[in-house]
Symmetry: D2
Subunit: 335 residues, 4 copies
Amino acid sequence: MALLAGVVGFRGYSGVELQKILARHQYAAPVLLEHRADSAPEILPLGHQGHQVLSTQADEVAAAGIGVVFLATPPEVSMTLAPPLLERGVKVIDLSGAFRLKTVERYQQWYKEDHSQAQWLADAVYGLPEFYRDAIPGARLLSNPGCYPTAANLALRPLITAGVIDRSAGVVCDAKSGVSGAGRKPSLKTSFCEVTENFSAYSILNHRHVPEVLMNSGLEEREFSFTAQLIPIDRGILETIYFRTQNIKSGAELLDIYLAAYAKEPFVRIYPEGHLSDLRRVARTNFCDLGIRFDAATGRAVVVACIDNLVKGAAGQAVQNMNLMFGFIETEGLL
Amino acid sequence: MALLAGVVGFRGYSGVELQKILARHQYAAPVLLEHRADSAPEILPLGHQGHQVLSTQADEVAAAGIGVVFLATPPEVSMTLAPPLLERGVKVIDLSGAFRLKTVERYQQWYKEDHSQAQWLADAVYGLPEFYRDAIPGARLLSNPGCYPTAANLALRPLITAGVIDRSAGVVCDAKSGVSGAGRKPSLKTSFCEVTENFSAYSILNHRHVPEVLMNSGLEEREFSFTAQLIPIDRGILETIYFRTQNIKSGAELLDIYLAAYAKEPFVRIYPEGHLSDLRRVARTNFCDLGIRFDAATGRAVVVACIDNLVKGAAGQAVQNMNLMFGFIETEGLL
Amino acid sequence: MALLAGVVGFRGYSGVELQKILARHQYAAPVLLEHRADSAPEILPLGHQGHQVLSTQADEVAAAGIGVVFLATPPEVSMTLAPPLLERGVKVIDLSGAFRLKTVERYQQWYKEDHSQAQWLADAVYGLPEFYRDAIPGARLLSNPGCYPTAANLALRPLITAGVIDRSAGVVCDAKSGVSGAGRKPSLKTSFCEVTENFSAYSILNHRHVPEVLMNSGLEEREFSFTAQLIPIDRGILETIYFRTQNIKSGAELLDIYLAAYAKEPFVRIYPEGHLSDLRRVARTNFCDLGIRFDAATGRAVVVACIDNLVKGAAGQAVQNMNLMFGFIETEGLL
Amino acid sequence: MALLAGVVGFRGYSGVELQKILARHQYAAPVLLEHRADSAPEILPLGHQGHQVLSTQADEVAAAGIGVVFLATPPEVSMTLAPPLLERGVKVIDLSGAFRLKTVERYQQWYKEDHSQAQWLADAVYGLPEFYRDAIPGARLLSNPGCYPTAANLALRPLITAGVIDRSAGVVCDAKSGVSGAGRKPSLKTSFCEVTENFSAYSILNHRHVPEVLMNSGLEEREFSFTAQLIPIDRGILETIYFRTQNIKSGAELLDIYLAAYAKEPFVRIYPEGHLSDLRRVARTNFCDLGIRFDAATGRAVVVACIDNLVKGAAGQAVQNMNLMFGFIETEGLL
């Protein structure tokens, strides 16, 4: 019998993506959970029946036999919804930033808001499978990584661990994202006429995803410069990462580090030296593509990392985590 | 009587922009010069007469009373066309990279091609008016700056001159351009279906515009990391520039350096600290917009520079140079 | 001394376009009029001063010496603002649909709202200069045509007048518009991620612009089928108009009718038979481009009409009307 | 054992789509067939092996055990490749227009080219499963319908058969397509900068897809007006179809005709009256969505039909046909 997987925030872009992935999953089935009244039901073709929608009330969720709930909701909503579900034994995979950082202070510093569920921070497992695969199966509360940090950490962590980045010169991560990363709520900043034929930087050095990169890569804040920018496309994140190398003489050595780190990873692809991926190659996939260019004369290197922000950066990685938590094949529903 | 200004390459994107700007110029009038047979005349509305088109043959150009010729052509075409015109006393404003670098060796190193007109390299004046306004009026051969270097040099040179950039940590310039920068010739890389909903890096650390930035900013190659990337838009360049500061304590000091350097410049706009421009603000204008963000705790800074690649990055700056060469008001045709 | 021209709704897309056109007008100068408190002043470059903003209070407007006010506002706002201004002798050019139809009943039928200013309906002059040039100079209240009807009427009226359309078979106008036509207020329907890589029909047979076409072309409602559709672009309207001809034998005869009707019109361009314009050709211009294709074997014909919805479809035509009302050269500010 | 399915033209947009669909098909496996030397092999991630590529030589194809070949090639290439394969007993599904029309004269009239394989025209089965499901299993040479006719015929044929369209007034089909419909070969017309922020009509009354609509719907040429237009998007076709009704009094009657015709069809969806689909709803699916609006007062009706031109309009329908030809479940690989 299929695992019943609740989805809160199912009308948002990540929520729709979750529905799609779960609909083709062999061992799980989506159940939509409504956390607020909504006046505009979707228009369906004649004869097509919409999904049944349950409430997010924890007793009802548990009684319905739902084994895991995905929260594709803002942090403050996730903080409210997660604890009662967890207390009834329902596992939670939270796609918001509510439980990603390890302390209330850290959360307040970067999110500029209070955190009402401090006791759950320590319990939450950070779900980047490529690095924390062992901890994920035992998670009750799984905190799904941010979209930008997913790409940045996959690109940076193996190189930092290997000691080939000269941290004294700093690391620059110039990040660009499609508009779906801003969510589905209408705003002037994401209006078509403001975005088309435009390109803009919107968060320089102070993006709330920065501490997630620091936490996982081991970099200090002063060593890591990050800018988020808006591409006039629907989906996709490309990060161009600059650093000076040490202890290596060729790009092949950088590639070898990646190949060693990701040899068995189903969702990380490494390109031949000098070749790069782009956003079309990762669109609607759970892949993170990595490519490098190395300048031997000066030791400078650039890594280009690409993901689909709604898949590996959100819904796809969330299902990858679900697969690990419930003992399914890691790639189920994702290839 | 108006200055007759020849335009070679008038069907290309920079050439069309030159036609538009010259058509509204009070003291100059465009004359189209054809350097190759072309089979498809433009379809015009009934009763509308197309421009007369002359050849690029130097004697005919001189005989027609043309005082200046804009070359919106590839470098190898510019090398062929410029010398005979110059020898007949016709001034030349070249929008290609043919005469931007100062030595044949430098050209061969970055353009991977021979240079057939070494004798003209020394004579060419590099036309970035904000820095070389004094030399431009005397130019016979004016070399119009590249699109990427225009933004990068306007952003970097005053700060480097003021000594506030810690060059030992390196400067990163992450550059993004609209597709018109690649020219009008059809190719798979600029086909609609390959570009839309995509974003890609195409030239990392080895772009041929790099030596122009080094030459004008004073940076060494090992200090300057540059990546060019393709935005799915028609026009516009945004450069995100990262560096560590020295000798300053606030963003206001950076702004003061810019304000001092550009106080009298009609085409450079500086934004209040923490505010940035974007590509919509500079589209179809000759402005270069500069904005900064400074992190006082760590001394890191980011500058965002925006131009329209076809205007300040090509045709607009070319006319700005023509205005200076012929004693017209610098902003004529450009506001 | 310049005519002071007030602009209400100056932050909207038509309002910004009005500002641009008036800023380069030789005989008029824009004055911004605020009809509600607005919390977010635009960020300007350092040293650049914003426009002074006055209130829309009629006494103040008159006292400031403002001779004409453009209302780029919704119909219900225009109804409130226009009468007090008119009573103080200030001319009004209204870009909304408030005063386009001739009776309250007609307005209620198509706008599904009450009309509070019936007494002004008869007084308003419909400002399509190509047909009503004689009436416009005497207008106090000028009602600027809707964007869709501007293109449709310019395409249809001369042909209907000439009797070459077989009305019994009906006329189809399939209209497509860029997103700016929906205004600047954020909504899900105009959010980037909903519009990009999409195309949708949003108003079939019942668009409120239909009665404007009937009123000017002489067609009956049953003879005219109109659909409005959203193109994922910023600006531009293309209408594909289908009909059966009568009393003619060639496309040249259709062209002759257009040429006779528009021979002296500065803003209507007719293309050679079989050639069509497109939205790039009219973008940021006040032109309406018309092209035809005629099938001699069956007598069917298709007209393609293109305008920029913000220029000939709104702000540009409004200034064209101002020019006629105040005796300026009709094309001033618009070429 | 899986059916080996050859794909010629596998680098084109339809060919890539075929590869994707076949890769997830349970009973078939793609084999790439190269019909010309190609200099640029695709760059693959390290450790990922590309598909083996065979030649299109008919003996080799047969010897390799390939049971069916998809030709995603231009008509003149399909004419050359199909006969030798068919003679060796390999079934052929041709996505070009080579074998869609029934006579050489008809082909010459609309394609303006000779047809070299007249003997195969009669043998070819036109593969629109919703109408010709019985004939498809026995096909040797299956001619896959054009993208525009697929949507037009699904929209029109049931209504014409039911006699509810007043043909004397004519039927208008205003069709819009994404750019991938023009194929992958670079050209100025499909260059990004020419297409973005543009919209254009490119084939009025004389598109070569017209006879396919006439042939299947029963309409006469004089009764059917068709225009093809280019939307600045990657994929999708929306057709807005106008006609006058007869013998009906409500939109519900039109819907009933559709519901009766398509009750058991897995890939046709009918929307409630007054509601329409759009291109996002059908993107990357094999669905054809139909919606109507009916004006009871005048009897006019409009149908909006949406498909993905690369799926239901090409590769998806081709696999649907393969499923029928080989006795697989019709929806395999397509849901």
